[in-house]
Structures are given as structure tokens and as C-alpha cells.
């Protein structure tokens, strides 16, 4: 049975179903991260004292990671734009760059985490670190998830381009929406955890 409305738009919504699906998913993600942010505010406001993030965390590394993630958002949207221009080769370059930048983000995070563990700073050490590891850990899982989908679309999933280019372009757009959301979450995590 063919999946309906993967390419053609529904007359009532003016959208394909994939796009509605990803936006509903992102809405649930907003609530997931929102609950953790609310917990952070509650714990921080209730604490008698709270350390500034930059006294514990590595701001230059996090700034570098912010630049990496923003750049990866641009390469992601350029990958989609390449497909819209019918340039599959350029898509491959931009999508490959997006996945690689995701790897760079993870490598930097690995160094940040191991440095903390080496210094005896664990999630159980204090509330600040518990919040830090929970929020950045969940965010990191999202980076890994986004990279897996993007790597699939760069590799085996790209076969769809030959048989149904519009459907493939829609898939890349939806994957991009998730990737930009991951970037957006980091844009808020960076100042609230590292700089305040």
C-alpha cells in the first residue's frame, strides 16, 4: 500500500503529511526541553547560591561548538536548497559537511565531559552539574539522532532521489527541521548554562 501525501499536498492542510508529522514531533520536543528548563529555573531560584557557569565550564570550547552547530545548520539548509536546484552532487557535499560538523560537535563534547570526569565532577557532585549533564546529555542524544538520519539520507536513503526526487527533497527538509531545532535548543543552552 502506498503511503498517502508524501509528495502531493493535502487539500485541507496544504501540507504533505511528513511535514505535519515532524512539526508535531518538534512541538513535543519543545515540551520535553521546556520541562527541563523549568526544572533548572526552579532549582536555581531555590538554591541559596549558584555558581556562574564559566567558573566550572569551558566557555571557549562551548563557543567553538556553538559556531560548529550554527555552521551545520547552514550546510543543512544549503543541502536542501541544492536539491531544490536539482544539484544532487552539491547536496552530497553539504549533507556530508553537516554530518561531519555533527561529529566535530560530539568530539568537543567528549573532551569537555572527560575533562570534567577527570576533575571528579560528576552529575551527582552538585545540582549545577546534574542540570548541566542532563540538559547537554539529552541535547547530545538529539545530535546523534539527527546525524543518524542525515547520514542515512546522505548514503543509502539517497537512492530515493532517482525514483522520486520530490519525496526525497521533502525528507531532507523534514530532517533539516529537526536539525535546526537541535541548533535552536543549543542557542538557549549555551548562555544559560555556560555564561550566566
Amino acid at each position: 500500500m502506498e503511503i498517502p501525501y508524501t509528495v502531493e499536498l493535502r487539500r485541507d492542510t496544504g501540507l504533505n503529511n511528513g511535514k505535519i508529522g515532524i512539526w508535531l514531533f518538534l512541538a513535543s520536543e519543545v515540551m520535553l526541553f521546556g520541562a527541563l528548563f523549568a526544572s533548572y529555573i526552579l532549582i536555581r531560584v531555590g538554591a541559596p547560591s549558584w555558581p556562574r557557569g564559566d567558573t566550572i565550564l569551558n566557555v571557549p570550547l562551548a563557543t567553538f561548538n556553538t559556531i560548529v552547530l550554527i555552521t551545520s545548520s547552514v550546510t543543512m539548509v544549503m543541502a536542501w536548497a541544492s536539491l531544490m536546484r536539482n544539484k544532487f552532487g552539491t547536496f552530497r557535499l553539504y549533507m556530508g559537511a553537516t554530518v561531519l560538523l555533527g561529529f566535530v560537535f560530539l568530539i568537543v563534547k567528549y573532551f569537555e565531559y572527560t575533562h570534567k570526569f577527570h576533575d571528579g565532577l560528576w552529575p551527582r557532585t552538585n545540582n549545577f552539574l546534574a542540570i548541566y549533564f542532563t540538559l547537554t546529555g539529552l541535547h547530545m542524544l538529539h545530535v546523534i539522532g539527527g546525524m543518524a538520519v542525515n547520514a542515512y539520507l546522505w548514503g543509502p536513503g539517497a537512492k530515493l532521489w532517482k525514483t522520486n526526487p520530490t519525496w526525497f527533497t521533502n525528507r531532507v527538509e523534514n530532517s533539516g527541521l529537526f536539525w535546526h531545532f537541535v541548533d535552536l535548543v543549543w542557542i538557549f543552552l549555551f548562555p544559560t548554562l555556560y555564561l550566566l
Binding site: A27, M31, T63, M84
Partner: protein
């Protein structure tokens, strides 16, 4: 093939225009990232620092949402879903304020 028209109704000229906007947004995001870090070195009072950091983050987030996620020109249903999400998100963020308020049923 320059006359490619996608299912979304964009043609090549449209996309070229989009790409120019993406590059401008990228530059703006980089500048705002530098601003975010630079402001943190000023060691402003906590309330001012929080307000400023969240303001810059909101501008950056809006740029990503509007241009990279194409929310600047999206269908009504997506806006409806997001409006509902924003309403619940605001309630979620307000909960800590309400629960720490002395006038909201919590007495010390």
C-alpha cells in the same frame, strides 16, 4: 536544470534568493554569538545578564526558526500547532514562578 520547479512551488530564482538570505542569517548568527560571549565578560548584575542573554538567544532562535525552518512563510496549520505549543510552554515556564511565590499557596 535551471527551470526546476519543486512540489512546494519554488523555482530556481526563488531558491537563489533564499540562499542569499541564508548567508545573511549565518553572518547575523555569528555576530550575535560573539555578542553573547562578549557581554558575559562585562560581569553585569545577574538580572541584567540573564535578560540580555535571553534577549540575544531569542533573536538568534527567531532567525533560525523564521529563515532556516521557513516559519516566515508557512501554512496556517503549522502556526496553529506552534501557537498551542507556545501557550503550553509559557505555562510550563510560569510554573516555577508560581510555586516559588509566597502568595500562591506555599507558606514558609
Amino acid at each position: 536544470m535551471s527551470d526546476h520547479v519543486s512540489a512546494a512551488g519554488h523555482d530556481a530564482a526563488d531558491i537563489d534568493k533564499h540562499v542569499r538570505v541564508y548567508i545573511l542569517v549565518f553572518v547575523a548568527l555569528m555576530v550575535l554569538t560573539i555578542v553573547t560571549v562578549a557581554v558575559s565578560y562585562l560581569h553585569l548584575p545577574v538580572h541584567t545578564a540573564v535578560a540580555l542573554a535571553l534577549l540575544v538567544a531569542t533573536v538568534k532562535g527567531s532567525l533560525v526558526a523564521c529563515y532556516f525552518m521557513h516559519l516566515i512563510a508557512e501554512k496556517k496549520l503549522i502556526y496553529a500547532v506552534l501557537a498551542l505549543t507556545v501557550a503550553f510552554f509559557v505555562v510550563l515556564m510560569a510554573l516555577p514562578v508560581l510555586t516559588t511565590s509566597n502568595t500562591f499557596g506555599i507558606h514558609e
